[in-house]
């Protein structure tokens, strides 16, 4: 027990799981006790969550949002890789650095410009989402490139590689697993933005649209149930991308020496 509140103490997996379970139970109890008439109690939210999962409305809207997110992620990662790889060329370094700074631009202020540049709501949502995600992806990938161990470059040089071969070996091949890690870490950002951009063009639906509708009618029980569903799907994707990374790049999960 004492270990749980000691700095840098390590606890076994079983203890950790028990600890998490206790924390969840305490949170639920506090929620149950402290919630008044306006905030629905956990049981009510759980019941609404189960009902929501079985409805066609939820499934259709979730599918719309997932497809849009995946599409945006795909475009974003392609743009990111292009600019991140090119950033090692001095000519493109400034462009990559500018993209990084674009994190400070708000999407709300650019909606009108994007509306003029795109032909329909679907394109508008996609382009806004891509514009919102790319700076975060590029920031993460540039951090990976900047933190590359200089010995990786030196080993390439000692093997007689030219600069292009070094770029291929160290950054493109060597950091391929990091692309998945960046995707995993930044999926949350795109998932966060989807609810916002879907509110701009509601005709195609999506969980963002659904959330706005529930909010509009003060249906807090369904809002929380939907939030729970969004949270669960986010966790599933987090796990899926992590597993995919380990499967595609087995070295990414190697930490202990097997051969001695």
């Amino acid at each position: 027990m004492k270990k749980l509140i000691q700095p840098f103490a390590t606890i076994n997996k079983q203890t950790f799981m028990i600890m998490v379970a206790v924390q969840v139970v305490i949170t639920l109890l506090l929620w149950q006790v402290l919630s008044d008439g306006l905030i629905p109690k956990p049981g009510k939210v759980a019941s609404a969550f189960i009902n929501l999962l079985g409805t066609k409305l939820f499934l259709d809207n979730m599918l719309v949002s997932l497809l849009l997110t995946l599409k945006a992620m795909l475009y974003s990662i392609l743009i990111t890789l292009l600019f991140a790889y090119l950033s090692v060329l001095p000519f493109f370094k400034s462009v990559a650095l500018f993209i990084v700074k674009c994190r400070y631009l708000t999407l709300t202020g650019l909606i009108f410009i994007f509306t003029l540049l795109t032909k329909d709501g679907s394109e508008l949502k996609l382009s806004l989402l891509v514009f919102g995600i790319v700076p975060f992806f590029v920031t993460s990938f540039l951090a990976v490139i900047i933190n590359i161990n200089p010995q990786e470059y030196e080993l390439c040089k000692t093997l007689g590689y030219n600069n292009w071969q070094t770029l291929y070996e160290v950054i493109i091949v060597g950091k391929a697993d990091q692309v998945f890690e960046i995707l995993r870490q930044n999926f949350a950002i795109s998932w966060l933005m989807i609810t916002m951009v879907e509110g701009l063009s509601m005709s195609e639906g999506g969980i963002g649209t659904l959330l706005i509708k529930y909010n509009k009618y003060n249906d807090l029980t369904n809002v929380l149930a939907l939030q729970l569903a969004i949270f669960m799907i986010g966790l599933c994707f987090d796990y899926l991308l992590g597993t995919l990374r380990h499967w595609l790049f087995p070295y990414s999960k190697l930490k202990t020496a097997k051969a001695k």
């Binding site: 010995q151 080993l155 040089k157 070996e169 070295y251 097997k258």
Partner: protein, 263 residues
Amino acid sequence: MTECIKAEVVLQANNVQLTYDRPILRDINFCIKNIIRPGVEQGQVVSLIGRSGIGKTQLFKILSGLQAPTAGQITIHDNKPVKAGDMGVIFQNYYLFEWRTVYQSLLLAAKKNKKLAGKEKQTIDQYAEQFQLTGHLNLYPQQLSGGQRQRVSIMQQLLKGSDFILLDEPFSGLDVCMLDKAVELLLQVSLSDELKTLIIVSHDIENSVAISDTVYILGNEPGKEGATIKKEIDLIERDLAWQKNIKHEKRFLETIEEIKGCL
């Protein structure tokens, strides 16, 4: 004294200097000659010894072509200035591409060697057997022990086909048992080809001298800034080269004391 002939110069350092905000290295002049022993095919083993912080790593980088000197140059064979890729380089921590299996890393190196064209796989298998790594070819570097990484690093640079193998502190961080193995391994490498030249940059005097034929001592001279080669010791002349169990001989211990006195 063991009979030998010192033939042509294989590597030469001419007035090498390195200055940052102050001189680090100055007037580095030495040459390594191809040593021919009748009936024995063995390359040269040269040690550059100096105390910690003297500029050994800088000299290592200049020798490997990874860093350009402020003045002077390193030339190999026919007076050709050394450039990155000419030397086989074994870093202190035996760095390998973490995303490549041992076999993939070795294949990348073998493909750089034109002499091995078409027979890369057989050569890798031969080396793996020689270096006792046959069962480890499909493992990633993270799955190897320090000694195994060292052997893979050496194999990688040997497969690349360079005549020179530069080693930065090859004995550092090894326990007593591994030290003996490392010494044996380096002797094995030097025996692999008559033209193979091993350059060991180290502060481990005893182990470096035990396997070398020539020792260069890097140090500072009174009143002068920057390290230089203070002394060259020809271990062949002293009959200390190429002898097993030399470490217990009195003349070996005297040489060690002499080197320590120069540092």
